[in-house]
Symmetry: C2
Subunit: 200 residues, 2 copies
């Protein structure tokens, strides 16, 4: 016997499909929606439909963007289009932009090479990157994939593809994070920090 009304049960199931949301949390979220005004619930539903309908990928850098054309970063004449920073995910672009240091453009792979999860090079936006570099005007490609095994593998794979095109490929520096404490840094990080030491 089903004790929740069908429409409520359906909403609970929809919430339970979200990542990290279990059945109990889904119930709490569904009841929260019921407690909201008609208007608030509609705003939520509309936000889902709008985002899905209006957000696509920039044809150049593959980052998420609104509408059909190039994203604001690719379209900007103030950015240095000769440097491409390769990231895994649109969220990484946001993180990089937050630092306000980088003036070049991006390329979003939408994933990393991961044989364990059946993700091969063809599942990522690698072809688009190669075409972009082959089209000329690019001097440097900075790999900013995550510093884990899959990120490293992807960066290495890309650099081997890009080298023959006569472009410089670099990697973000490793080291101890700013504001971190030396005693909490792991061995691998300390080793990399030592390797990359600089004269002051």
């Amino acid at each position: 016997m089903d004790y929740f009304p069908a429409a409520l049960e359906n909403l609970v199931e929809q919430f339970a499909r979200l990542p990290g949301v279990g059945r109990k949390s889904a119930q709490r979220l569904a009841f929260f929606i019921l407690d909201q005004s008609e208007q608030e619930a509609k705003a939520f539903a509309d936000a889902i439909l709008d985002a899905k309908a209006s957000i696509g990928c920039c044809p150049v850098c593959q980052n998420l963007t609104e509408g059909e054309g190039e994203c604001p970063i690719c379209a900007s004449s103030r950015r240095d289009h000769s440097v491409i920073c390769v990231v895994t995910d649109p969220k990484d672009v946001v993180a990089m932009e937050r630092s306000r240091e980088y003036q070049g453009v991006y390329h979003v792979l939408h994933g990393v090479i991961s044989p364990m999860n059946h993700v091969g090079p063809d599942d990522l936006r690698i072809r688009q990157l190669i075409e972009r570099v082959a089209a000329g005007g690019v001097e440097e490609v900075v790999m900013a994939t995550n510093p884990d095994t899959e990120g490293e593998t992807t960066a290495l794979y890309l650099s081997r593809l890009l080298k023959p095109l006569g472009v410089k490929t670099t990697r973000l520096a490793y080291g101890i994070p700013v504001g971190g404490q030396l005693e909490y840094a792991d061995d691998a990080t300390l080793m990399r920090a030592m390797e990359g030491r600089r004269e002051i």
Copy 2:
């Protein structure tokens, strides 16, 4: 500067308004929606609108129900309509029904008296309960509010209102939970369990 497209930012904000969902989780959920098919996203949005549009309160027991009329429990002739179990929340009805023990009907208060949160008796469905009991045919009202201060206060308040109507008011038994371990039971529970001991 806003690095997410506006429609995505809006969706993130909508998710962040949900209880227990922070900005980071909201981003994860929003990206999950973007990764879904058009159809799946639509099903989610529709579930929200449907639930909001079709779910109302049963005019008798105030439990959530679909459509305008009485809920299936109130409409059932197999339930004992002379016993009303008073619960705080529609979720508690589901919990009680799961036990398959109770054959009476319910009354959902939609909250507890809580001066700290500015919830007084008039904010709950207490008037409807009194009217229901005053209309006659009710022999017993079982208080099944939560065993915390606010639940106790509400139960006590209700029993004082109901006593003059000549109806028996009872309270769910306290004691050690089935399957629990004595050593982990708190003092108050053990004391209540001792008070309520029975001959075997």
